[in-house]
Amino acid sequence: MTEAYLPILVMMVVAGGFAAIALGVSALLGPRRPNPAKDTPYESGIVPLGDARRRFPVQFYVIAVLFILFDVEVILMYPWAVAARQLGLFGLIEMAIFVVILLVGFIYAWKNDAFKWQ
């Protein structure tokens, strides 16, 4: 049974070997002459200003999460719409329940000022 797996093994060895050799050879042979310009994140780009890990309004998260939620809702409607005829009344009711649940969430978020930029 092991023969069947032989190609996989060969592939893993070759892949691993390639990575090791490539890294090893460049480390051994490559010249190392660092200078400040080389050490910047983008050698030929814009000079970065300040720390990349800066604070930004938490409101972004709320908007993003809400967007994902309602985005998924809409995406689910596509396959449902394709099969709506076959699913018939049952499918319609299920989709209605689904929409109502999301609607409650929407109202709750709305009333809690989730859409207001503070």
């Binding site: 069947a4 018939g88 049952f90 109502v100 649940i101 409650v104 109202i107 709750y108």
Partner: protein, 528 residues
């Protein structure tokens, strides 16, 4: 296309719970008195519990509505095991709601970020600031999330398909992530939630990958079909190794939810950081749901083969020992109980590792006992917890017996039960699972378990020592002069504690109705 037939009694508890959660969310916008919301959710839980009892012997199923991988398989199964675990979850939910009714404001209220600025501007004229900062109360969200988590847990307990299990797991996990971070005024709460969420997502990945591999090996995600497919070793050769790998990854996911060592690291942080009623709820209800699902998965996928059992036994030993040792030297009572609940997961696992009728029955009995005693213990912690704090140190119960003899006595009963002192429920749970291990030829496991419970007695005992054999941290003078806030536990908290203690005692002294129900529940599983 055939119409799916929904068997409503099977999903009635979830329907009730979700509907109630939605109603509460809407009502939250209109009602000023948040206590009403608590009562609504309590009624919903009782209704769901009634639904569980109604469909007791009705072990029907409902097929997948939109076709899919498992074809004619069933998605949920209202058998004895599922209903028993659902009942445990619902009991825990009911008690957690009752526990929170008076104290939810402690952690659900917070000042709106905008109002703070206003206050700062008019800070020179404090008298002009008559209405005070604008306070938001998220109590409604608390109850709604609790109900949704409960719905997810009951769904997990009755799920009979790996996909349903996963979806249920995600439903309750998401709700719990939010609940853990519910206390906005405490940074720890937020941090605990973030840790729990990140690691939870990590573990969910393992779980999902495990499902994928098992699907690859067996061609189905329905537990019943899996059991059928692997019985005659019908898996074609190249796919065979996928099954143990997939099962191992599933175990990682379960191990995370059950807080088994070494997947437990989040537990102390999350339990300590979460608001106490949430800790009380999640420490017991999650275990009930995940254990029921684990029992089902093991019965289907592993057919209780020996290597699985040994892996479980090893996990049990690690979990018990580490949990108990780490609990020995905690100063925070919440954290101590968190480690203790890790240790208890280890004891529970012994029953599964034994893999026989007695062991699994014992694990289920233990689960119910644990629900009462652990929830009760956290309820007592809430009773002595100050309103402005989120943690409970040993100081809070120093000399409690002198101030509140009844509360101290109830806590002592709970501690003795957790320590496994007869005739309380905790003792019999241990007796059953350990005896199951002895019967399965795992006497060494039982010995490790018994030694561990001897170790555990030490720190439970410390609690009683603090309550009965120590002077209060504050002198009487300080208390009478009103310098220190003296907390009278409200009636709802007390009721919760009393109910939990009653459960602990009744389970211990009047056992056969419960053990009989459990025996029936277990008899349908394919055990040795």
């Amino acid at each position: 296309m055939t119409f799916p037939t929904l068997n409503f009694p099977v999903i009635a508890p979830q329907i009730v719970l979700v509907a109630a959660a939605l109603i509460i969310l809407l009502a939250d916008l209109m009602v000023a008195n948040k206590r009403i919301l608590g009562w609504i959710s309590l009624i919903a839980v009782i209704g769901a519990l009634a639904a569980v009892f109604v469909c007791r012997s009705d072990s029907a199923a409902f097929p997948l509505a939109l076709g899919g991988p498992s074809g004619p398989g069933t998605m949920a199964l209202a058998d004895g095991l599922g209903l028993f675990a659902s009942a445990a979850v619902l009991i825990a939910a009911g008690l957690a709601i009752l526990l929170a009714i008076e104290r939810v404001g402690d952690f659900s209220r917070f000042e709106k970020p905008g109002s703070e600025k206003k206050q700062a501007r008019s800070g020179d004229h404090p008298i002009a600031e008559a209405p005070g900062p604008q306070v938001t109360d998220r109590a409604g969200a608390y109850y709604a999330l609790l109900l949704l988590a409960t719905a997810g847990m009951t769904a997990m307990a009755t799920a009979s398909d790996l996909m349903t299990i996963f979806i249920a797991l995600e439903i309750f996990s998401l709700a719990l992530y939010i609940l853990v971070g519910f206390n906005r005024r405490d940074l720890r709460s937020g941090e605990a939630a973030l840790k729990y969420f990140l690691l939870g997502a990590f573990a969910s990945g393992f779980f999902l990958y495990g499902i994928a591999l098992i699907y690859a090996a067996t061609g189905t995600t329905s537990l019943e079909a899996i059991l059928h497919n692997i019985q005659p070793m019908s898996i074609s050769l190249p796919f065979r190794p996928l099954l143990p790998v997939g099962m191992g990854l599933l175990l990682v996911g379960f191990g995370f939810k059950l807080a088994l060592v070494p997947f437990h690291m989040w537990t102390p942080d999350a339990y300590q950081g979460a608001p106490t009623p949430v800790t009380a709820f999640m420490s017991v209800a999650t275990k009930a749901a995940a254990f029921a699902a684990l029992i089902r998965v093991l019965a289907a996928v592993a057919s209780y083969d020996r290597p699985w059992l040994l892996a479980l036994a090893a996990l049990a030993v690690l979990t018990m020992t580490l949990g108990n040792l780490a609990a020995l030297r905690q100063t925070s009572l919440k954290r101590m109980l968190a480690y203790s609940s890790i240790a208890h997961a280890g004891y529970l696992l012994i029953g599964l590792a034994a893999g026989n009728q007695l062991g699994v029955e014992g694990a289920l009995y233990y689960l119910l006992a644990y629900t009462f005693m652990n929830l009760g213990a956290f309820a007592v912690l809430l009773a002595v917890q100050r309103r402005d704090e989120n943690d409970v140190t040993g100081d809070r119960i120093l000399g409690l017996a002198g101030r509140q003899p009844l509360l101290a006595a109830l806590m002592a009963v709970l501690m003795f039960s957790l320590a496994g002192i007869p005739p309380l429920a905790g003792f019999f749970g241990k007796l059953y699972v350990f005896s199951g291990a002895v019967e399965a030829g795992l006497a060494w496991l039982a010995i490790v378990g018994v030694l561990n419970s001897a170790l555990g007695a030490y720190y439970y005992l410390r609690v009683t020592i603090l309550m009965f054999m120590a002077e209060p941290a504050e002198s009487d003078q300080e208390i009478s002069s009103g310098k220190v806030e003296t907390l009278q536990p409200g009636w709802a908290v007390m009721t919760t504690v009393v109910l939990a203690v009653l459960g602990t005692i009744v389970l211990g002294l009047w056992q056969w109705p419960w053990t009989q129900t459990i025996a029936q529940a277990v008899s349908t599983l394919a055990l040795r």
